[in-house]
Symmetry: C2
């Protein structure tokens, strides 16, 4: 289940920190306190302001059932439901090229569960690749704060292996073999554009 | 104010038809009954299924305030508000290139009001153009069912003219001069990709 709501994540993180006051955990989060989504939003804002790229997170898709028009100016949504997204969460443009990615994190340390992705997202990524778009996933191992950019074509291989009855996750050393590590910085937090440059240079 | 909610538009259209049963109007809508948004969604689905392009409408941005988790499986959003979109409504990829557009319609017959657009949307379009993305607006004159694709660079001119104290709309003959007419078909309804080809061929 993928239920997210804006500004909610940080509070959940805080609660977790209180419930599990293990020294290793609190050190792990202490100089961050941010989710992958927040890091990427800040990164994309940095790119936007610098004129590097125009990448946005799509709004969470919601099925609106009832709206209360309390006054002329205020409309309050009184009943709505989260919908399964039909695409990936992030897209935009870099030097004319279409950029499209999904970002996921895990608390696992030795593998990345494929259940983080959905059929329709894989389908969407395949369509983007067919259209010659730049399609990838950003994977974060939360405990070690390691972030990787993995091109979708590799995700498809691991996905197909699972569908053929194979393992339901990607081993971390498999990710290290095919994906690009992203070092975490301050400005921007998750500097993935240099890796896009690598990918583009390789394709040309 | 831009308040839209899914599946709501058609009902509004039906009500209007009942309130204003002028022959000219009912004829105008009789062989359509669809809004510009619905026409574009069908067109984009056609492109998607044919493998022509991958273009999606972004979800309506909503600020979620309260979610009721009634059971383990059902989350009901009980309080939420419409947010101003920070980008345009449609984007995606065509042959590796980033496509980005906004679609608007008017009931006016001789001009297109610029109030249909917002500052931040114009800003977004300018950033997309700077990144060498394909940025445009699709304009529909509802009464005559005429649809035009106008590249954003022309919209900026009319926008800047307004900011400089000029007229708050684009005259229809100005649109006819700089924009590309799109003939309305059945499959797809609003076939804009041939115009993208023109634009791309001109740029190369």
């Amino acid at each position: 289940m993928e239920l997210r709501y804006p500004n909610g994540k940080k509070y959940i993180l805080d609660k977790t920190a209180k419930k599990q006051p293990k020294p290793s955990k609190s050190i792990s989060y202490s100089n961050r306190g941010m989710t992958l989504e927040e890091d990427l939003n800040i990164t994309n804002l940095f790119y936007l302001q610098k004129g590097t790229a125009v990448i946005h997170k799509k709004p969470t898709p919601v099925q609106i059932v009832h709206v209360d028009y309390q006054s002329r100016s205020t409309a309050v949504i009184k009943e709505a439901y989260f919908k399964q997204p039909s695409t990936t969460d992030y897209n935009g443009v870099y030097q004319g090229r279409y950029i499209d990615f999904e970002a996921k994190e895990t608390n696992n340390t030795t593998s990345f569960p494929l259940q983080n992705f959905h059929d329709h997202q894989i389908d969407h990524m395949k369509k983007v690749v067919d259209q010659n778009g730049i399609s990838f996933v950003i994977l974060r191992f939360a405990k070690t704060e390691e972030v990787f950019l993995m091109e979708s074509v590799y995700l498809f291989r691991f996905w197909d292996r699972m569908l053929a009855g194979g393992r339901k996750s990607i081993k971390k050393d498999e990710i290290e073999t095919v994906a690009h590590p992203i070092s975490i910085g301050l400005h921007p937090r998750i500097d993935y554009i240099p890796i896009i440059n690598k990918i583009l240079n390789r394709k040309i």
